[in-house]
């Protein structure tokens, strides 16, 4: 998985390409942890995301919890496969998906 990181003031945009799964979820977790301080807008761009497993979902959930305290989080460009994952796990009700 490739994580492209862009910081614009207090907005952090993370664009993911590839698969967010058991092996790659820790990478995303580390990038978020390193960069989350002071962020009020977290944008995750999933245009290039092909696969999302429970390991990835747990990292997303953790990010959402953090952002609930310090601002907001938005997920963009969700394809059909990923959207189905959000639907069946109930994440669709927790996340803000644009």
């Amino acid at each position: 998985m490739i994580i492209d990181k862009q910081i614009n003031g207090s907005e952090l945009t993370l664009s993911l390409t590839g698969r967010l799964d058991t092996t790659t979820a820790p990478e995303l977790e580390a990038v978020i942890k390193e960069n989350i301080t002071g962020v009020t807008n977290l944008v995750m761009d999933f245009a290039g995301l092909e696969y999302l497993s429970s390991a990835g979902l747990r990292v997303i959930l953790s990010a959402q919890k953090t952002m609930n305290k310090q601002g907001e989080m938005v997920i963009r460009n969700v394809n059909e496969t990923i959207n189905e994952v959000f639907e069946i796990t109930g994440f669709i009700d927790i996340l803000t998906i644009e």
Binding site: D21, S54, A55, E84, V85, T89
Partner: protein
């Protein structure tokens, strides 16, 4: 009515210097049995037939015909052999003799029949196999299907108690297979005891009362056509019948190569032209059940077997995951997110025990 045992095979082994096609074959063939012998190439099907009539004597073990051991050193082999006719893949007719001469020869030489008797019987048999008008032709003037029907008539002329067929239609043009199978089918209806090595599965299903599935040097499964073709009990039978394509991974370390297995699943999908959705669902099962759930549950010395079975015949995918240790209760013990993903990727999830007694999940993939 008790069944009359015609042939008993006891611990028959046939070993050649480099290969052992028969390791331990045991069975009883009853009068009137029509048994199709099926299985992958090289599993000793033809060898079994050749052992039964001692064309290729077993290395060890015994074969009894009507309670007489054909494998005994002092047996009257030629007399016992007469009880069994054999029909070969390659017909084995004498090309320099006419059809009727081919049929008359053995009854005159071995049964002491007169030429007239042998001729009358031969013509009767040729009528039975639909070839009376070819009596004076030479084998080379016949099609493959006709040659094989002559070979069957020749075998019947010796009035055998049973007939062994060694792939009787394998050398035939596909258009000629039906006429030979029809003759064999009629013999079955008349109650002839037969052992037929064949690759014609529909025929085997229709005509037989028993099927031997041969594999691993033995009669791996012996059952009715219904059992073998619809509900095979054992693993290798199932793979053969369902024309299963397999992918198997064994995980014995927590540091196993996750990416390699994930890629193997993708490659398996590409190779057999599975839909992207199915491949995705196989990945979900591998990751959510195997990696996220069972692997942590296995402790320091995991032992997981992950197997994908794709049936070409039914175009269905099944995943079997066998694991050591106690049975895992999915609904109670699995993480909710993983369980939701797993449910969505499958149409059914069953639990079972493997032949080795390990716990196993069997999942049908959407």
């Amino acid at each position: 009515m008790t069944k009359q045992a015609l042939i008993k095979i006891s611990h028959v082994c046939k070993a050649y210097p480099n290969v052992t096609p028969l390791k331990d074959v045991n069975t009883t063939i009853y009068k009137g049995d029509v048994i199709s012998v099926i299985g992958p190439s090289g599993t000793g099907k033809s060898t079994l037939l050749r052992c039964i009539n001692m064309m290729d004597p077993p290395t060890s073990g015994d074969i009894y015909i009507n309670d007489e051991a054909i494998t005994a050193p002092n047996c009257q082999l030629h007399l016992l052999r007469r009880k069994m006719g054999m029909v070969f893949q390659s017909f084995n007719l004498f090309n320099h003799k006419t059809v009727i001469e081919n049929i008359m020869m053995a009854p005159m030489d071995l049964l002491g029949k007169s030429a007239q008797e042998a001729y009358d019987k031969g013509m009767e048999l040729l009528r039975t196999v639909g070839l009376a008008d070819k009596a004076l032709n030479f084998p080379d003037e016949l099609s493959g299907g006709q040659k094989q029907r002559v070979a069957i008539a020749r075998t019947l002329a010796m009035e055998p108690e049973m007939i062994l067929f060694d792939e009787p239609t394998s050398a035939l043009d596909p258009t000629k297979v039906g006429e030979v199978l029809e003759v064999i089918r009629e013999l079955a209806q008349k109650g002839m005891t037969m052992l037929i090595v064949t690759h014609e599965m529909n025929f085997a299903k229709d005509v037989s009362n028993r099927i031997f599935y041969m594999d691993q040097g033995e009669i791996y499964e012996d059952g009715t056509p219904e059992q073998i073709f619809e509900h095979p009990q054992r693993e290798l039978t199932r793979h053969f019948i369902m024309r299963t394509k397999l992918m198997e991974e064994i995980i014995t370390s927590k540091d196993f190569d996750f990416i390699a297995i994930r890629n193997n699943i993708d490659q398996f999908g590409k190779k057999y032209l599975l839909s992207p959705k199915s491949v995705h669902n196989m990945q979900v099962v591998f990751e959510e059940l195997c990696v996220q759930t069972l692997l942590p549950y296995q402790g320091e010395a995991p032992n997981l077997q992950f197997r994908i079975e794709y049936s070409d015949k039914t175009n269905s995918i099944q995943i079997r995951i066998a694991y050591s240790g106690k049975a895992f209760e999915l609904e109670e013990d699995m993480d909710m997110i993983s369980y939701a993903l797993l449910k969505n990727a499958t149409t059914s999830i069953k639990t079972a025990l493997t032949e080795n007694g390990e716990n196993e999940f069997i999942l049908d993939i959407k």
